[in-house]
């Protein structure tokens, strides 16, 4: 299908540029590390407390880091003529959304791959037994985050004061994702004796599907000139 092929072209281009310049990735990792450290300093000696709130802290780190990369999603298009360049090509404009979405997901997951083990070390929580559960939450949460984020980033790219508009619009939309991700993570880290985490994973999954459909459907309207 040509939408996927063109989306893939965009993913390839973005990841290639990112691999060469590392501008987003480095900033994200640094920022995430900063967040983790500050929390460690604040809650420091009380390791029991740290372990209890580890789930929430982790997602604070991921959320802020994610927003950082989101605002750059379309920014590297700016020097090359803006989104206009991509719109001048034939084909379904949804390919742009899918391409940018996949790029964001991959990038954020890569940062999480570093962030989560780092959190484990700093918060003295043994993460290995929960690796599978954590991986699933990460993936579902990151997808949900990127779905809405990529969409709103496109909407606000031409807006004045977009740096304030993006988080403002994102916040209410991310409540279900963050609730689900934080609760699932915390439950998983606690061992989840009653299997409650599955409920949250289902919430995340449902959110992902619903918003994927909505965003992909409305995207061409957001992109119109």
């Amino acid at each position: 299908m040509s939408v996927l092929r063109r989306a893939w072209a965009i993913v390839w281009k973005d990841l290639l540029i990112e691999a060469r310049t590392k501008q987003s990735f480095n900033a994200m990792v640094f920022f995430a590390a900063l967040v983790l450290f500050i929390f460690s300093f604040a809650l420091g000696p009380d390791t029991e407390l740290l372990q209890r709130v580890a789930g929430g802290l982790l997602w604070v780190g991921i959320a802020f880091t994610g927003i950082l990369s989101l605002s750059r999603t379309y920014q590297n298009e700016e020097t090359s003529g803006g989104l206009e360049g991509l719109r001048a090509y034939p084909g379904d404009p949804r390919a742009i959304y899918v391409g940018k979405l996949l790029g964001n997901i991959v990038l954020l997951l890569m940062v999480e791959a570093i962030l989560i083990p780092a959190a484990g070390i700093l918060f003295q929580a043994n993460l290995w037994p929960h690796a599978l559960g954590l991986a699933i939450v990460s993936i579902l949460g990151t997808i949900g985050f990127s779905l809405v984020g990529t969409f709103y980033a496109a909407l606000t790219v031409n807006l004045r004061a977009r740096e304030v508009m993006l988080p403002l619009l994102l916040f209410p939309a991310l409540v279900p994702v963050l609730l689900g991700a934080v609760n699932a993570t915390t439950l998983i880290l606690e061992g989840d004796l009653m299997g409650e985490a599955v409920v949250w994973l289902r919430v995340l999954g449902a959110f992902d599907i619903i918003f994927f459909v909505i965003c992909i459907w409305i995207f061409p309207i957001a992109l119109e000139e």
Partner: protein
């Protein structure tokens, strides 16, 4: 066809309208029989746009940029097509260098090259001479002649003089959004017909 006119007359806007990057606020126009309002995708498939800044990525190489262009146009990127295009625009030796290292003239050539790797029926050139030296300008003229020979319609906007400008079969003067076509030749462009209020799509 060549468009001339002072700055701010709307030449770029007109080209972008034909490229379907802008939506007409009133009326409609047809490019190769397809309506701007209803069939923009058909038009995009057959149209190539050369802008002043070009749609190029600094951190990709010349070859990679063309590779991307072909992919986005829905084509399978062939190395020979890319190589030939790079040859034609004189960038074959720097094919694998990042665009960041290119001069303005080289970028302009690469942007021109983007039009060569796709089969287009209408070429829209916005200030193609800007940033180019004498050799570059000759290249533009040659490419325009090749387009014409192949039957591709060329719509060229320029406020610089050049051979392609002088050799245009038809010239139009654009002033503050109004287009006046000079009656210098009887041959109307086969592929471009403009209809709607005031003879030109209303610009916002």
């Amino acid at each position: 066809m060549c468009l001339v006119g002072p700055n701010g007359a709307g030449k770029t806007t007109l080209l972008k309208l034909v490229a379907t990057l802008l939506r007409p606020s009133g009326g409609d126009a047809h490019v190769m029989g397809h309506s701007l309002r209803n069939d923009p995708d058909e038009i995009r498939m057959r149209t190539g746009l050369l802008t002043v800044r070009g749609f190029l990525y600094d951190d990709l190489s010349a070859a990679e940029n063309l590779h991307f262009t072909m992919r986005m146009a829905g084509l399978r990127p062939h190395r020979d097509v890319i190589a030939r295009a790079l040859e034609r625009i004189g960038l074959a030796e720097v094919a694998d260098n990042r665009m960041r290292t290119f001069s303005t003239g080289m970028r302009k050539r690469l942007a021109l090259g983007q039009l060569l790797v796709r089969p287009i029926e209408v070429a829209l050139l916005d200030e193609p001479y800007s940033g180019l030296d004498a050799q570059g300008m000759r290249l533009v003229d040659e490419v325009v002649s090749e387009f014409k020979a192949a039957g591709t319609t060329v719509l060229l906007a320029s406020h610089q003089d050049g051979e392609a400008v002088r050799e245009a079969e038809q010239t139009g003067i654009l002033r503050k959004g109004h287009l006046e076509i000079l009656p210098e030749s009887e041959t109307l462009s086969r592929h471009l017909s403009v209809g709607g209020p005031a003879g030109a799509p209303e610009v916002e």
